[in-house]
């Protein structure tokens, strides 16, 4: 028992990207913290598969086709690049964790249930939001105004960045502010040529090394956690024995553990939060054991929801009471609404000539990034907001047998780097729309009796026009850079959810009538309830969001700790 006669000072629901950071900050402030993880424990020595060689992974590490059809139709359809025979245990089986889609809509809910959540499988692209991202809603009268500004979050970006480690280059761009960096993964010769030609042709556009959460000059603090520099294997989706990329399991959870203040419980699926109207507080967290179906409750002074934007909203919707008949902290009716992701469409690729005498060594875990320029340095766009491109230029290399010839010549052709291929893919901002929402399915339940999520999400005209323009821009940049054999895959928009950046379902705002959280990620309606996963995002910006989730988590955790220390929470 804590001094307040609760089991813990704080309960953090979820151990992924944001939950790990919440737990670290709260425990480092001396609070006794329980982390509830709905999935099983990941033990790196047993569960990481990054040390397996190609000849130790049968069938090219592919999951059998019938098994995909039975268990992973959604997950594999969304992330075939990451879900392999030796990594499939990091992803949910769709038949065991179903969800529903409103008629005429489709949603990719791509996820894993285990220690550290998707921080194990993420693609590690790490960018700050810029000042423009916090004011765009206000200026354009879209959604609600962010109750914070860029300057408010800068110290927390810096704190998180020093801890997690980011490889990147200082560029001095206002719309994509520099982080605290370790050395970047340098551009290839073809990428440097592309950079020079594009930047000379398009004033204001920049080609920079992707910013990725990999150690390239590990600090003493990082080494003390057993982390070391990236070995350029690009086996990240298998886990990393070197702990070179950031995950909760590699960094924040061990940091929380060493304080002696962390209790972690696995296989604990939160079914709802108990609410006491008299004190206006969350008084308990009800869980069901995923393996035994036993139910139990935990108590704490403060609760942090870090279950992911979708699951945290579901928990609130499931927590009904007389005071909150439509779900806890949902007086605004915004819980579950404004679900956003980033939107992509056609990738653009082509061949760069002139580099046939060059190759690379090592397998870089990132590539290039083209920061947003639309409505930043170029203001003639037929759409709101903007997009960034991710991509890279590398030797095409082993053609997988798809080149002509047999015998020695064919065999040895695979040693040569081959032509250099360049590709880019736009990640665009999705505007908040209250009609894009998740609700509790009225009748369908999962095996633990919890309502299924019902998704009703579609992209709007702004996303369509933006992606059409993004593809045109990419082709124009390729042509200016002398790229040949330019191809685009297809013009369809990515499925909502497919970029795995879901956010916005419990948005923060200034007005309790129109938003769920205040600027500290604290529920307007219930002061000891915080949500610091992607749910708080009032707009999506176009940058990969994990860094922002962690910065807001660290800020909220320290705010909550301040309130507890002051005796006001």
């Amino acid at each position: 028992m804590t001094q307040n006669n609760t089991d813990f000072d704080a309960i953090v629901v979820g151990s992924g990207m944001s939950g790990g950071m919440s737990a670290k900050e709260l425990t480092e402030r001396g609070l006794k913290v329980l982390v509830l993880e709905r999935g099983p424990e990941i033990i790196p020595e047993r569960d990481y598969s990054d040390q397996l060689t190609p000849w130790q992974t049968p069938n090219f590490d592919n999951i059998p086709q019938d098994e995909i059809a039975q268990h992973y139709p959604k997950q594999y359809g969304g992330v075939a690049y990451a879900i392999k025979e030796s990594t499939k245990h990091f992803w949910v089986k769709d038949d065991e964790h179903p969800y529903e889609e409103a008629e005429g809509t489709s949603y990719d809910w791509l996820r894993g249930y285990h220690t550290a959540g998707r921080s194990i499988m993420w693609s590690r692209q790490t960018y700050r939001l810029g000042p423009q991202d916090f004011t765009a809603n206000l200026e354009e009268a879209v959604g609600v105004d962010w109750p914070v500004r860029y300057e408010d979050i800068v110290p927390w970006y810096e704190k998180v960045e020093r801890f997690i480690g980011i490889a990147g280059s200082e560029e001095g761009l206002s719309q994509l502010p520099d982080s605290v960096f370790q050395p970047a993964f340098a551009l290839t010769d073809a990428e440097n040529a592309f950079k020079q030609r594009v930047e000379a042709t398009f004033n204001g556009r920049k080609i920079i090394p992707a910013r990725v959460a990999h150690l390239t000059d590990a600090t003493d603090e990082q080494r003390a956690l057993g982390r070391s520099n990236c070995q350029a294997r690009n086996r990240c989706h298998h886990g990393c024995t070197f702990k070179a990329y950031f995950s909760s399991l590699n960094a924040t959870l061990p940091a929380a553990q060493r304080t002696g203040n962390l209790t972690m419980v696995h296989n604990a699926i939160v079914q709802g939060l108990d609410y006491d109207a008299a004190s206006n507080r969350v008084t308990g967290v009800r869980v069901v054991d995923a393996r035994t179906n036993e139910t139990r409750s935990y108590t704490s002074r403060v609760v942090f929801l870090n279950a992911s934007a979708i699951a945290s909203a579901m928990i609130l919707l499931q927590s009904k009471s007389d005071a909150f008949p439509t779900g806890l902290a949902n007086r605004s009716d915004q819980v579950g609404r404004n679900l956003m992701d980033h939107v992509s469409s056609a990738g653009v690729s082509g061949i760069m000539t002139g580099f046939e005498d060059k190759t690379v060594f090592g397998r870089r875990p990132g590539g290039i990034y083209i920061p947003r320029y639309a409505n930043v340095t170029e203001n003639d766009k037929p759409f709101k907001r903007g997009f960034g491109f991710q991509g890279g230029a590398l030797p095409l290399g082993n053609a997988g047998g798809q080149i002509a010839g047999i015998g020695r010549e064919f065999k040895e052709a695979h040693r040569r780097p081959g032509p250099w291929r360049i590709n880019v893919l736009a990640f665009g901002e999705q505007l908040p729309n209250p009609d894009n929402r998740i609700t509790l399915h009225p009748t369908k339940r999962d095996r633990w009796g919890n309502p299924l999520a019902l998704f009703n999400v579609t992209y709007g005209e702004n996303e369509r026009i933006m992606q059409r323009e993004a593809v045109k821009d990419a082709v124009a940049m390729f042509e200016a850079a002398g790229v040949i054999n330019i191809t685009t895959s297809n013009a369809e928009l990515s499925k909502p959810g497919n970029r795995i950046h879901e956010m916005g379902t419990v948005r923060m705002g200034r007005d309790p009538e129109t938003s769920v959280l205040n600027g500290w990620c604290q529920a307007h309606d219930v002061p000891n309830l915080f949500v610091t996963d992607g749910g708080f995002m009032a707009s999506s910006a176009c940058q990969n969001p994990s860094l922002s989730y962690m910065a807001f988590s660290a800020r909220a955790a320290n705010y909550a700790a301040d309130l507890i220390a002051a005796g006001t929470l």
């Binding site: 190609p54 000849w55 350029a232």
Partner: protein
């Protein structure tokens, strides 16, 4: 020293259950076994696949496809990974390939090295010059190449694949690499 024909024949009986995924400790390992016959391929299919593999990726200064047990790898691929549709497509492809090569040589498996090489070279050229009816050949060739380069011999000895590069060098002169 076995002749190439004997080597192919011996494969037919040696690749059975050629690969098995060991579940212990998360360390997946491909275990070639010598027991029984192949799990997926018929005797004639295995003979054809052996000859194709050998001609497409022969032994040079480094091991060839037969040395690396590519037919065994593919037997496991078809048994353990492929669904019925993929298996059917692959079987059809092998039948088509056999028919085309037998038509060109009289009997592809019995043809001498020069004749067989010539016929396969011609078929391969057609497949990569837009002959859509040979899509199955291209897929089969892809399986052979991918299988070979996924073996330790193909990856390490031929491709010089390095498990832990330790560093990223974005600009390597080809001559320096060689």
């Amino acid at each position: 020293m076995k002749t190439r024909r004997e080597f192919i024949q011996s494969l037919i009986v040696s690749v059975g259950g050629a690969t098995a995924l060991s579940a212990c400790g998360g360390l997946a390992t491909i275990n070639a076994t010598s027991a029984g016959s192949s799990r997926f391929y018929s005797t004639s299919e295995m003979a054809l696949l052996g000859r194709l593999s050998d001609l497409i990726i022969p032994r040079t200064e480094t091991p060839g496809a037969l040395d690396a047990n590519v037919p065994g790898y593919m037997d496991a691929l078809m048994s353990d990974w492929a669904n019925e549709e993929t298996r059917g497509e692959h079987r059809e492809a092998l039948q088509l390939i056999a028919a085309r090569l037998d038509a060109a040589t009289g009997n592809f498996l019995d043809a001498d090295e020069t004749t067989a090489t010539s016929a396969l070279t011609e078929l391969d050229a057609a497949a990569f010059d837009g002959d859509a009816s040979l899509a199955g050949y291209r897929r089969t060739k892809g399986y052979i190449a991918q299988s070979y380069f996924a073996t330790e011999a193909g990856a390490v000895q031929e491709l010089k694949w390095v498990a832990v590069p330790g560093q990223w060098d974005p600009s390597v002169e080809i001559a320096r690499e060689a």
